[in-house]
Symmetry: C2
Subunit: 314 residues, 2 copies
């Protein structure tokens, strides 16, 4: 696949001269800045603080194991460090399972692979599979389609749009702002607009209205967790968009990660985040002092509401 242009969100971790750099997604769209990551504790903290998300977290987990291996190759302490890193990373976010990654890396290590080479090969394969995933998505779309999306799918949508262009199909986007972190207005609108696509931001309470007005042809979202039965966990708000899409007979497509160990959505634990993240806007308190908030960060969309899973075949 030649001359493809990627959003910085498609591959938000860089490895240069034995040092890791992670795109700070909380500063976008105002600033495009990378944070230096020295060790697995840094990585866990960045994940917990949502400095990076989605594919950025997957990449960070893999790259950090590569870094640990390179630094400690041959040392007696290596197995212990890898094990502590595994625990730390797996405990950083409840809803997102990194276990399939950490199990995979642990297995490679036990089998005697050189983790640095093995992980780089895996990342290379992952990149190609993600490109294929965007291509598969493009084949589901028609010329003039208007796509509603929510939160951010780590560069897959601009890439999908680029494949559409090569197929001479012109598509455009509506993006929910995605409170409270505004990944929709800050990240998705930014990467789509930067790639030359028409994008319109709405607030999360306008979904039914734009669907009723006939402005939406298809919904395309990502997933943070895919259960074995096809249920998904994704950013809070995805579930109600799926219910509304069902009501208005609008196809609902999901970019999925590899399946997690969860049998169904019921087995996926929903992360409840601190309510101050909801009650403040930047540093400004937007609710009266003393009022509580409730902030489930994800929700489960049952497979019945999903028209098609766009799988990542790794």
């Amino acid at each position: 696949m030649e001359n493809l242009k990627f959003s910085p969100l498609f591959w938000p971790v860089k490895f240069k001269k034995d040092t890791l750099y992670v795109l700070d997604e909380t500063l976008l769209p105002q600033r495009l800045e990378y944070l230096k990551v020295n060790n697995y504790r840094d990585a866990s903290r960045l994940i917990r603080n949502m400095k990076t998300r989605a594919v950025g977290q997957v990449l960070l987990v893999l790259y950090i194991f590569m870094l640990i291996f390179k630094r400690n190759k041959g040392k007696k302490s290596l197995a212990g460090i890898l094990s502590r890193a595994t625990d730390s990373l797996n405990n950083s976010r409840p809803t997102l399972s990194f276990r399939y990654l950490t199990d995979m890396v642990t297995a490679w290590f036990r089998q005697g692979y050189d983790l640095d080479k093995r992980i780089l090969d895996f990342l290379d394969m992952l990149k190609n599979k993600r490109i294929e995933q965007a291509k598969k998505a493009s084949l589901l779309l028609k010329n003039k389609d208007i796509i509603l999306t929510h939160c951010n799918v780590s560069g897959l949508l601009p890439l999908t749009g680029e494949f559409c262009r090569r197929q001479r199909k012109d598509i455009s986007f509506f993006v929910t702002e995605t409170r409270p972190y505004l990944q929709g207005s800050r990240l998705t609108a930014w990467e789509l607009h930067s790639s030359g696509f028409k994008v319109t931001v709405i607030s999360d309470n306008m979904v039914a209205q734009v669907m009723k007005e006939g402005l939406i042809d298809k919904v395309v979202v990502g997933a943070d967790n895919l259960a074995r039965n096809g249920d998904i966990a994704n950013k809070i708000g995805t579930y109600q968009i799926a219910l509304l899409a069902d009501h208005f007979n609008i196809p609902f497509y999901v970019f999925c990660p590899p399946p997690s160990p969860a049998d169904t959505g019921e087995d996926i634990k929903i992360e409840i985040r601190p309510d101050k993240e909801l009650l403040r806007f930047g540093s400004k308190l937007i609710a009266p002092a003393g009022v509580k908030g409730y902030y489930p960060a994800f929700d489960i969309t049952p497979r019945e509401l999903i028209s098609k899973h766009i799988n990542l075949d790794v």
Copy 2:
């Protein structure tokens, strides 16, 4: 009805010594401040800028006619000023029809009433009917009910809660923050918390999740416009909450104003507001420069989704 305590939002316009003061709802919950209103142009501007909303706009329209009449009683120019005020006020917000008010006042004027006295009598009656409306709502609620609401219903919910207390029923609230103006977190959470009710703020994309978790017993919202067939227009987001309540079999109650001239919801024009109100938070741009937004300020909830209209019998 003795010893009732009212939220400042229940009656947000004050008339003192021939001067009008309107509660500036955009400064809440940080500051409780009133704006001076000198003439109908001031009033139309405050309405257009949403410094006051809902019942505050109704009160402002009526009080401003009272003020015009008092100032110009007996003058030849009076009819002309009243007519210009009527046009200005009716054009200030597309979705909100003040015509039933301006028609009423015009009819009184033509019939030779002293508008100052007639309007004060009407406002007195309106206040009592609103108190009755809150009491009717309280009879629909049970002990331990958790109510989800959206936007702000101008002091009717704390009053409903007070009637529940007198009936020895303990109720609590979930409030959507109601982007982009945050009337839910700023106004409703504030007035309910100030009145001693338990209130939890969620963002607009969490509605399906809290319903699915069984956290919501009833939905109670207001309406800015009631069509003759029972359809309502209310703050954007109401429609999707009604669809979700229907999906989860949760009763959906609406505090209604008197019917407007609209036959059905289809006849109510939806106001499209400037997208900068959606794309900025205060003075901070939250979307990338150049990205457009779409901001329909209201939506229509069809009568089929409304379990009960709590009418204002004026």
